[in-house]
Symmetry: C2
Subunit: 242 residues, 2 copies
């Protein structure tokens, strides 16, 4: 059974404003929920079509119709959970770090979080105008990887002014990524889907790199930000393996 006020709360969490007010976010499906629980995320309440395994006051058994009402997915799963948004851990100025400058598409952000997890990148920095990682679309697109990657929202230009790490960014005229020897620690900047990296951030970049293009016509404008992230992360990790 889902009460009216619970339905209202869950529906409201589609909006960032209400996630900030309540400190809660929504995750759906047993896989994503289990991964968040495994990593110590605090469950506020769980709505599931399965009977609760343990009798707990924050577990509610619901009908398929009730679940459909509170689900954000086109095809509702078997469970919807509310979790507390965790306090961010202190930022470490070390390791391989990805920094996103105004990446707006939730699907792209989700894919990049999943890539960070695959390639062992523990810190993802986001400009304040990047999509919110607790947006339900992002949470689902991460497939649970959100549990293992720390996402920090901050002023990128402030961080980049202070960091001692080398700062990498993609340019048409940069050094070929296939012949570069990349360090273990560094910051990789990725920019907005339409406009790329902003002028203020470009000025902080210390290492200009490029993914060579092989198409004959040379007309392809750019790679999608998530596929560029995939290739760059792969190249950084290959450098360590060498």
């Amino acid at each position: 059974m889902v009460s009216k006020s619970q339905t209202k709360l869950i529906t409201s969490l589609q909006q960032k404003k209400y996630r900030e007010q309540t400190g809660l976010f929504v995750a759906e499906g047993p896989k994503v929920i289990a991964e968040l629980l495994n990593e110590g995320f605090v469950l506020q309440s769980l709505f599931s079509t399965d009977p609760p395994e343990n009798v707990a006051k924050n577990h509610f058994q619901v009908t398929d119709a009730e679940l459909k009402k509170i689900s954000f997915l086109k095809t509702a799963n078997t469970s919807v959970a509310l979790f507390e948004i965790p306090k961010p851990k202190p930022l470490q100025d070390s390791g391989l770090i990805i920094a996103l400058d105004a990446v707006r598409d939730p699907g792209n952000l989700g894919t990049i979080i999943r890539l960070c997890d695959w390639f062992g990148v523990q810190q993802l920095l986001c400009s304040e105008d990047t999509a919110d990682c607790f947006n339900p679309k992002v949470v689902q697109a991460t497939m649970g990887s959100l549990a293992r990657v720390q996402v920090h929202y901050l002023s990128l230009s402030e961080f980049l002014s202070k960091t001692k790490l080398p700062i990498y960014g993609g340019f048409m005229d940069g050094k070929n990524v296939y012949s570069e020897k990349f360090p273990k620690d560094g910051v990789v900047i990725l920019g907005n889907e339409a406009n790329g990296v902003s002028e203020a951030i470009i000025q902080k970049i210390t290492h200009r790199i490029t993914i060579p293009r092989f198409g004959k016509t040379q007309k392809t404008e750019s790679l999608n930000v998530a596929t560029a992230a995939a290739i760059l992360l792969s190249e950084f990790r290959r450098s360590i393996e060498k």
Copy 2:
């Protein structure tokens, strides 16, 4: 001015059935339309909020409201065009070829077409149950790359039984892609978002490869199909550069 029958025709082209019946597909926005025209795609009609540059009987000036009605995008662009679906060119059993086994998400297919264009892959093979490349969502996601990549729908297992090319596929226990020397010509198989490559197709794979995972927890299940495509294409092209 858009007539009722034109609106009905355009709206119907969201469905594959009507694209097949009419032999037409929709492209939106001056950039995508220009790239298709450049590559010799045949324009059936153009609806634009700008006055037509050349007086042609298949160019129609429309109001913003009319455009919004026929556009498939959330934010309508300035133009919507109908193009003829081209006859596929004969398939060549050479070059680097990507083969998709039941990739269902239009966004993933669009991203992969864009990647093929970037990395100079001219032939993309799709199983009959892969998303349709003339689906409006795919056309827009390709950002015009669809004009330069030949997409063939066919029985993958029949093609793979006949081809003389080496056939690559990703496995947990395959050879590390970073230490492989890849050939210039070959087929790379990518599978369905949820179920991976089907059993019948797995049996045709001659070279098992793996993208190493660097995450500590080893829990990340898999990479998204488009990001896996990005890393594999990058590795094949790097091999040629070496």
